[in-house]
Structure formats: C-alpha cells, structure tokens
Amino acid sequence: MPQVEDTDPDPDPGETTQAVFTLNYPRIQIPFEITLWVLLASFAKIGFHVYHKITVWVPESCLLISIGLIVGGIMHSLHEKPPAVLTSNAFFLYMLPPIVLDSGYFMPTRPFFENFGTVLWFAVVGTLWNSIGIGISLFAICQIEVFGVQDITLQENFLFASIISAVEPVAVLTVFEDISVHEQLYIVVFGECLFNDAVTVVLYNLFNHVAALEVVEAGDVFLDIGRFFVVGLGGTIFGALFGFVTAFTTRFTGKVREIEPLIIFLYSYLAYLIAELFAISSIMAIVICALTMKYYVEENVSQRSCTTIRHVIKMVGSVSETLIFFFLGVVTITTEHEWNWGYILFALLFALLWRGLGILVLTQIINPFRTIPFNFKDQFGLAYGGLRGAVSFALAFTLPDNIGRKDLFITGTIVVIIFTVFIQGITIRPLLKLMNVRKTNRNQETINDEIHKRLMEHTVAGIEDLCGQWSHYYWKDKFMKFNNRILRKILIRDNHPESSIVALYKKLELQNAMEVLDQMSGDISAAPSLISLHEERKNASKSRKKFLSSDVTNMHELLSKNMYKIRHRTVSYTNKHTLPDDITAREILMRRHTSLRRSLRAGSFHGTNAAKMSQKYFSLPMGRSLNSRFPPRRLVHAGDGDIESEINYSSIRHPQRVSSKAVMPLRPLNTLKEVASSVNTVDGQNEEQRGCRRSHLGSNVSRSGHLTSHLPHGSSRNCSDGDHDAWVEEPQNNSDVQHPLMRRPHWLPQKPHDK
C-alpha cells in the first residue's frame, strides 16, 4: 500500500505534510459493501451458467445458498458479523417488494383469474390446514418427555407451525420454471404462494398475540378471524386503488416520457409501504396494484418506457432474490443455534406430511369444480413443490424475544428451509420427469402439433360459444363492459378503442419485428434476453432432406405469429398482451363472405373484383393493402356512424405492412434495412401520435419519408372518408337477394365500443 493516512476531521495540528493519497473508508462503507455483496452474488449467478449442466439439475436457489454457506463459513472463522440484511426491516421493506412486484407484474392475468378460486382455496384453506395440523402434532410431541421440550405452549407451537407452513414463491418458481411445468400448476402454486402471505402473516400475528396472553378468550379469536379478512381484502382493495391511480397518472405523462417508469415503481412501492403502515397485507397490495395497472399503463406509456419498466423490474427482482438466498446461507452459519433432535426432525416430518395430506384432501374437494381436474401427478407436483424459503426465515427472525425457545425455532426453520430447498429442489425434477407431469412442452412441437392443436382450440371455442357456456365468463364479461364504458375513458389517454387497438397491435408487431431482427442478424447474445421476456421461439431440431431446420423454425415463427389466436385463451403464459380480436375478426368475416359469394356466384352482384381473386387461398400479393379488394364498409353495418372505424381500418393495415415485411425471412436482405428504418420511425411516431386525437397514422406516415415506399395504399388512404373507388358494390337491401346466405346477417359485428 502506498503511503496513506486516514484523514480525521480534526487533523493533528502538528501534521503539516499534505497527504498525497488518502483513504476514507468509513465514508463509503455502507454503499460500498452493498455493492460488493450484490456484485458477489451476481458473479455467483454468472458462474453457475458457465457450466450449463449444473443449473439443470440443481436449482439456482440451492447453489446460492451453498455459496452463502461458504461465505458465511469464511466470515465466521474471521469473526466478522454479516451485514444486517435479514433483519426484519431490511428484508420486508427493501428485499421483498421487488421480488413480489416482479411476480405480480409478469403474472399472466387470464390464467390467473380463471384459476382464482383454486388459488384462493389452496392458499387460504391449505395454509390454515397446514398450520393447525403441524401445530397440534408438534404439541403432541412436546408432551413426550423424552424430547425435553415441554415448555413450549400450544400457542407457541402454532406460531412455529405458521412460520414453517408458508410456501415460498421465490424458490418454487425457479424450480418450476426450470422444469417447464404445466401452466395450470404454475399458476396455482404461484398464486398460492402470493396469497398465503396474507394468511401466514395474520396467523403469525394472531398466534403471536395469543401466545402472549395467559388466557385465550373466544372473543379474541373471532376478532382475529375478522382481522384476517380485513388484511386480505384490505390489501386487495388498496392495491387496486393504487393501480388505478397509477394508470390515471400515466395518462398525463405524455410529455415527460422519461419519468414514466419511475412513476410505476414509486406507486407500487408506495402501495406496499402504506399497506405496511396499516398492517394489512402489503404483498397482496403490491401484486394487485401491478396486476391492475399493467393493462392501462401499457397502453399509455411509450414503447421504450414499457421495455424499461419490464427490464428494470426483472433486474431488481432478480438481484433481490439472489441476495436473499445468498444471505440465507451466510446467516445460517453465523447465528447461534439451538438444536433439539426430536423437535426439529418431527417438525420437518410433519411439515412434509401435512402438506402432502393437505393437497390430497383439498384437491379431492375442489376437483369437481375445475375444468381441468388435477390428476395425481399434478398433486404430487403441488405437494412436493412446496418449498419453504426466505419469508419463513424472516418471520422466524422477527419472533419476539419473549418466546423462550426462539433460537430453537430459528434453527428449526432453517433446517426445514434447507431441507426443502436442497433435497426437494434437487429431486423434484427427476421425480417429475419420472411421473411425467403435464408439462408445457414448448420446445418439442412439430408443425403438425401446432396446427392441429390450434384447430382443436378453435373448435372447442366454437362449440363453447355454440352452447352458450358463458356463465364461466359471466363476471369477466361484466367487468369488460364496465371497463370499456367507464374505466378506459378515465384512465387511458387516447381512449379511442380503435386507436388503442392499433397502438397495441403496433407494439406487438414492433416487438416481433425487433425479435426477428435480432435473430436474423445472428446476434445470439441479444436474443436470449428478448427471449426470456417474450415467448420462446420453438426450434424444430429435425432436418429432413427437403426442409432445413432453419426453414422449420421459420415456419414455426410464421405460424405462431400469424395463426389466429383463440378468444379467451393464452397460448403461452408469457404472452402479455391479449389483442382484441377486431382485426382478425374482420379478416375472417371478409374471407367467409368472399368465399360464400364466390361459391354461389350470385348474379345480382357486379364489379366482381372479389371474384377475380381467383387465387385459391385468398392470400394477397405482398405490398397490397386489403383495402384494394375489400371495402371496409361492408363490415360496418351501422353505416355512417362508423366512418371513424374505416379510417382506422386503413391505419390498421399500415402496421401490418410494416411487420409483414419483418416476418418474411425468405425475402431478400433489403428487408432488414426497411424494417430497421421503419422500426425507428414507427417508434418515433409513437411518441408523436400519443398527442393526436384520431390516430391519423396515414398522414403521419406520409410525413416520414421512410415508410411511404412500403405503403402504397396505407398512406394514400389517409383520412379520406369518401374514397371508395375500388370498392365493390354490395347488395343494398336484402330483398333482392335470393339466397339467404347472401343477405346481410342481422347481427352487428362487435363494435369495439361494446366489447
């Protein structure tokens, strides 16, 4: 070390030499140490992925804990104290919110709400079952003199039980994601983890409170039950409130795009903190807040802000999670333990037993109400996947000191956590493989699979509509109506459903275009990060003599991007947008009408441009907009009221042109340039257009020179209402048409307003 001196605030007056190098560690100590810890954890994470095989078999949480144990050992031998990260405040106020926000924000809303009943059932009733069961059995054990733990009261047993029955989202989800479990299972476990927080914390407080009392009165118990509902519901309402406020705020951030992500984060965190203030379930608050605001916010903010938000949430969440596991390992070594063979081992045994029993019993009860009942393998996945983690640990740490056996409880909790994370975490994968749990098989689909599955899904959707099976979706329909009529008007800036459809569509296409660009330019390093956020591209590994695997990959991409989505289904659970079906609906309707018309060759029909489209399969030559063939007016039965939708119809075509060039990998390479420029300008346009009322995309497009060349019709279509030159005459009144199918159908197509 070069000559250094500590600078003290009051330098010794006798010292006159000017120090050349000074070292002022105390000043930077805290941020420095934080940074180092985070860096260390990140290196650990990078290190794991160097050797790919490890992460396949050993979940990351295990690895992190192990590294933590090692570091903890080092620190212990040096008699250093670990940073006070897992204290109650630091954990609950700083470490937990990002993780929960991450989970909540990326939660696929639709499957979540479809499984809502099941989720609540498992979360609330399941946790209660576990806690009470474990508590009672442990109390029974305590009575046995041999173990020497008679001093633990029933209430304290319940307390401990409630701590160790909290299933932990972080650990479970890493495991489940690693093994690509069936979507339903993922959602149920995930939801259960989130919701059982409310239950656990309430139980914890309840038993804490009760443990301190000498005598338990019935009145107290009822109060606490009431408290449980207050906590749960309160958290939800709070979260929803904050979600709406956030959405409302983003309505006005049109001019200050840079702070949009900040607003999202601040409000979410605020929701969390204020919920903590009122001691209601803060986790529920932040999750519901994220869920509610996502829908509206993603329509209001710019594309860049959207990406930023997602990236930052993921980043902070992952850092937090890494640190937690890391410190779990560290603190394990450095705390004082109290060991009691009997109690701890039985605690472990009962934890596993009661969870297994609980899942069995609960599934039996709820299966009849489920569309897709859980079979035995699913139940096994649910039960075995119930890992405990950091939440339990933090709860144990925050036990009040008047509990005599606090150290025993802490040790017990740690044992349970480490056992579940290590043993169950490592063995769950081979076991599930063995049992062949229904997995979301994202990578092995053949083209056949994809096509036929989609066919089946469409069929089933059609039959469901036919049977009028709407009661399942009754509440959702009501909500959507309410949403469109009231909420959207308040919360979304440009609330024209058409323009928001267009905006959404453009966003999606933009994302797709960017992905395709990334893959085509061979930039492997960028691709995984996009892929991790968007749907994974399927890779068919077979190569037959005619088809290269790249061709097949292209086919998969083409299909997955272009096949019509089913209404109300998520194709993959990472799909974050559900695009309203307007555009596809129109295409389908047009196609049907045309095919009907062609097949009937009605004589009362002149100007048969449509009939001239003798191409068998109604594909359009590239670069032609649909407007040249099909008058949008045909679909707009309400006539004049919907001129607006005609305009936007043309502008809807516009984004399609942009993207269609992007998704044609078979075209020559100048596509790249075209797409690159259009990507930039479209994004730039996004910024401008937020301010515009009716998205005059056509006119804006012609302003930016790049895109006019690609839009032979789109740009000329502008906002010309009366421009109906190429359009085909349609039978105006039903009476002249003989065949019933040629008449205009009596129903109105779904106008976007009414959806």
Binding site: I447, N448, I451, V460, D465, D581, M622, L741
Partner: protein, 203 residues
C-alpha cells in the same frame, strides 16, 4: 335419422340421449333450452342459418366447418350431400364428442361400443374438419384450405404451401402424400387430445 320434429323433450328421449351420449339429466335439459333458443323457426330442428346467426361462431376461423360437422352425413358418404337440418339428438350426438373423458371411463372396456367422447372419436371429429370430401384422407389441398382459414393474410401462398408440405411430410408414413386417419392419430399421440377437445358442460 329423420328429422323428428319434437318441440318438447320427453323423458324417454332424455333417457335415450343419456345412454347414447353420457350427459347427465340436467346437462341435457340445459342444452335443450339452448337448442330451443337457437331454433328460430320453431320446427324442432336447426338449420345452417340458425348456426350462422351466432356471432361468435361467425368470427371463428373454422366456423363453417364446425357448423358443417353438425349436419349428419347421408348414408352413402361420398355421394350424398349432408342433410340440412339437425334435430336435438343429432345436436347432442355431436356435442357428446366434447364431453370430458372421466377417469373411470378410460378403463371401461369397449363392449358397448366406443363412447362418443373417446380419444379416437375426438380425433375423428378433428380429422373430419379437414377432410371435406370424406375420403378418409387429408390431401394437400384440404390441408391448405384449413391452414388458410386459420392464418392471417400476411402469409403468402408459397409459404403456406411449404408449411403444408412439411406437415404432410412429418405425418405421412406410407408415402401417398396424404394424411390418413391412422397417420393423423399417430402424429398426435403425444398431444393430450382428451383435454384439448373437451369442454366443461355446466350442470
């Protein structure tokens, strides 16, 4: 099956339908009221227009094919056009394909003939959506037609053609450039057809 116009559902009818399709009593009555509400002409049978009047079905890409599947074929499959009226029994018979497979049924042996909602019958239903001319083979053209129905306007004919070719190539084992029903079954063996082609009928 003749078009027996019965506007009221009698108990013995319900029993027969129950036996044939496996639906429960309440499901049958519920579906009957739906049938009745669709039947605008009040003649105890549904025509194609009645189906097309359902808006959601109209915007379903496969709407026409699905509607078609309800109408029973004539006795001589290849040459007789389908009938244009379907009565309640026919309606239920088609819907029975979509009943979820219960576990206890999976192992039932097939002495009474295969239930309508067996895996094979579900697959057969899907197969028939492709196979318009009912020659028990999905030709390239038929595949292309369905593909075109399911896909947006952005895909060109050549691309769709190559997708169809690839599909046939993956499935075709006997080299006739068509997909037969057994090849279809084989290629979908890993897919959970029982779950995918099932809907939960409310009680």
């Amino acid at each position: 099956m003749g078009s027996r116009a019965s506007s009221l559902l009698r108990e013995e009818d319900i029993e027969e339908i129950k036996k044939e399709t496996g639906f429960s009593h309440s499901q049958i009555t519920r579906l009957y009221s739906r049938f009745h509400s669709l039947d605008k002409g009040e003649n105890g049978a549904l025509s194609r227009e009645d189906f097309q009047r359902i808006p959601e079905l109209a915007i379903n890409p496969l709407g026409d094919r699905i509607i078609n599947a309800f109408f029973p074929e004539g006795t001589n499959k290849k040459y007789t056009a389908r009938e244009d009226q379907v009565n309640f029994r026919g309606f239920m018979r088609t819907l029975a394909h979509f009943r979820p497979v219960e576990d206890n049924e999976k192992n039932k042996d097939l002495t009474s003939g295969e239930p309508l909602n067996s895996r094979t019958n579900k697959l057969h239903f899907a197969f028939q959506l492709y196979d318009l001319d009912r020659d028990d083979k999905i030709s390239r053209d038929e595949l292309l037609q369905v593909l075109r129905m399911m896909v947006g306007v952005n895909i060109s004919d050549e691309q769709l053609g190559s997708i169809a070719d690839r599909t046939i190539q993956e499935a075709d084992t006997n080299g006739d450039m068509c997909i037969s029903f057994s090849e279809f079954t084989k290629v979908l063996e890993k897919v959970d057809v029982e779950q995918k082609m099932s809907i939960r009928f409310l009680h």
